[in-house]
């Protein structure tokens, strides 16, 4: 994977590599119009592999959330290509993109985004309902997902009666229950205290370990680093570095400078 992340611009349009569940190539995203137009992403390429928890880290305004939105098929890139679970996303309508999210993507949000009028179990079940899965099977699946995140005893609790950590764990269960290929988390620990932040990251790490999906978390929380299999650094709309836990820290400032030069050119 290192090669894919560090030399994306030179990669040919090859068939999806086994184990790669998401592949982005030369993603450019321009936001705004006319004089106010901003190039938020300047040619990002990356791959996400099953069994890996990848962190996307970078300063504010570096394009983290924009990239996450594109990888999650919420925003469409200005140029570049994205393939999720082997399905190319180019030219798809918003409805088709929603369908792709339904089938392959799970989201975890910074503010949990739980439905305040639904119980924990109902919040999880809602993710199945939009996928057309209903009835007792859906109830059992929702309960299992909550059990997996340690909230079997909070099935009937409303979000208002749950702590921040518990709410985020419900959100994790909701992202898991549809068995997506990719889980994308936006600042999953930002609203949590240290203890709950650790618990959630540990959970995400476990989820990534089950070898059926990839997890990408956008974060600037240093507490999350020990849980990552891989860290991608993003600056000014470009991936400027990659670090792999197994290989130790590899600083790639030189590569970053080269890429910046290419992008500006």
């Amino acid at each position: 994977m290192t090669a894919a992340a560090t030399t994306p611009q030179t990669q040919d349009a090859a068939p999806a590599v086994p184990g790669v569940v998401l592949e982005a190539r030369d993603i450019v995203k321009e936001l705004g119009h006319g004089a106010g137009k901003v190039r938020a992403l300047k040619g990002v390429s990356l791959q996400l592999n099953v069994g890996e928890l990848t962190l996307l880290m970078g300063p504010s305004g570096s394009g983290k959330t924009t990239l996450l939105s594109i990888l999650g098929c919420i925003l469409t890139p200005t140029s570049g290509s994205l393939t999720v679970a082997g399905e190319p996303t180019g030219g798809l309508t918003p409805e088709a993109l929603a369908g792709l999210r339904r089938r392959h993507v799970g989201f975890i949000f910074q503010s949990y985004n739980l439905f305040p009028t639904l119980t924990a179990e109902e919040n999880v079940r809602l993710a199945l309902d939009v996928r057309g899965s209903r009835g007792s099977d859906a109830i059992v699946a929702a309960q299992r997902a909550l059990q997996k995140v340690g909230l079997r005893h909070k099935l009937k609790s409303y979000p208002a009666n749950l702590s921040g950590g518990e709410q985020q764990r419900v959100a994790v269960a909701r992202s898991l229950v549809g068995a997506p290929s990719v889980i994308l988390a936006d600042e999953p620990t930002a609203a949590l205290d240290s203890e709950n932040g650790v618990a959630v990251m540990s959970l995400l790490s476990q989820i990534a370990r089950d070898k059926t999906r990839a997890v990408l978390a956008v974060t600037h929380d240093p507490r999350t680093v020990p849980y990552a299999d891989r860290i991608l650094r993003i600056e000014d709309g470009l991936i400027v570095g990659e670090e792999r836990r197994a290989e130790g820290v590899e600083t790639v400032h030189e590569l970053a400078r080269t890429r910046k030069r290419k992008a500006n050119a």
């Binding site: 993507v105 439905f115 809602l126 939009v130």
Partner: protein
């Protein structure tokens, strides 16, 4: 789950729910009362025509409704009888005249004269006495609704109509006049006497056509034979009476206008509250969208919210409307609630709420799912 979500969204904000339901409730009550009055008026206008035993009506030219008719010659009845396929031709007399109350003062009434043995137009819904008792000297039958208006308290009381004395021998219930002028049933000859009509005159001839015969054809044949009179089928006379009272006078337009106004007011209130509710839950709908829900799923949630509002509002509104109907039952202008009207109101309520949901759906369709990252 979509129903659960719609239900919870709806009941989450009780104040907004109350505003929505009050909007629907007022709308339903207003429309029910207006349309109920319209139906009641319609029923009163055509009740005599529907009750009379005649396929064809022979009358003076230009007759606009049942109550206001000029006299025609009684012998025209025989011309009708001579027409092929005519089974019977029954004379009927009606006219406005004064009823002098025994307690003093007078009121306008419509005298209806027909002989019971002819079977033309006899009083119905008789609650006291008997229509056959009209043969007794001075006998008349009136409706209970108008007893106070007529200055009598019931059977046995007497009054004066024109120059003749009349005695109430029977009472009906629910035979009311659109003009709020009481009907007074009596025999043909006594009616002539009460309204001072010559014996050679009548007001209508009720023609009964042989079963299976072509009524239009018989009508045309009688028209040819009676060029000085007008011959209408029952439906034609009914339509003419309704057109006169409801539309030429503007009464029906006012009632229907009120009903339309009620629908508009209801739609605006529901649309406003539903839009506002959707706006409050926009972030949740964006989350749903991010989770991959189709726009159809989200629309379903909003439409279910609208549908639930409609059903609850309808139940409350109909309860009040039925109470008003009950209270108006014995008044001169009763409000009618038929199963058809109840079904129509349900349909209108659901349609009103569905139309109201369009603005909310429009708002949701413009959701940027990326807003889920900005909460």
């Amino acid at each position: 789950m979509s129903l659960t979500l719609a239900f919870r969204n709806l009941f989450h904000d009780r104040v907004r729910l109350a505003v929505t339901l009050i909007g629907i409730l007022f709308s339903i009550v207003l429309v029910a009362v207006q349309l109920g009055l319209y139906l009641g008026a319609r029923g009163m206008i055509i009740s005599m025509i529907d009750r009379a035993d005649g396929d064809l009506w022979i009358m003076a030219y230009g007759t606009k409704n049942f109550e206001e008719a000029q006299p025609i010659r009684a012998r025209e009845r025989y011309v009708a009888l001579a027409t092929p396929d005519v089974v019977s031709a029954v004379p009927l007399v009606t006219a406005f005249t004064d009823w002098r109350k025994p307690t003093g003062g007078s009121t306008l009434v419509v005298v209806i004269g027909a002989d019971a043995e002819d079977g033309g137009l006899a009083p119905w819904n008789v609650v006291e006495g008997d229509a056959s008792g009209l043969g007794v000297r001075d006998a008349v039958m009136v409706d209970k609704t108008y007893l106070a208006e007529l200055g009598v308290s019931g059977v046995g009381d007497t009054a004066q109509v024109g120059t003749a004395r009349v005695r109430v021998t029977g009472l009906t219930e629910g035979i009311r006049s659109f003009t709020v002028t009481p009907f007074v049933f009596t025999t043909l000859n006594r009616a002539r006497q009460l309204i001072d009509m010559p014996a050679e005159n009548i007001t209508y001839v009720l023609v009964k056509v042989r079963p299976g015969a072509d009524v239009q054809k018989v009508r045309d044949e009688i028209r040819t034979s009676l060029p000085d009179s007008e011959v209408l089928t029952r439906d034609e006379f009914r339509a003419r009476s309704l057109a006169h009272w409801l539309f030429a006078t503007g009464a029906g337009v006012a009632l229907l206008g009120g009903a339309i106004l009620g629908l508009i007011v209801g739609t605006v209130i529901v649309a406003q509250t539903l839009y506002s509710s959707t706006k409050d839950h926009l972030a949740e709908f964006a989350t749903l969208r991010a989770l991959g829900s189709s726009s159809g799923y989200i629309n379903k949630v909003i439409l279910m919210q609208a549908g639930l509002s409609a059903l609850i509002g309808y139940a409350l509104g109909m309860s009040i409307a039925l109470a008003i109907v009950y209270l108006s039952e014995h008044t001169a202008l009763p409000i009618v609630m038929s199963p058809g009207l109840a079904a129509l109101l349900l349909g209108l309520t659901v349609a009103m709420c569905a139309i109201s949901a369009l603005s909310a759906i429009g708002k949701v369709m413009r959701i940027d799912p990326a807003m889920v990252f900005n909460r």
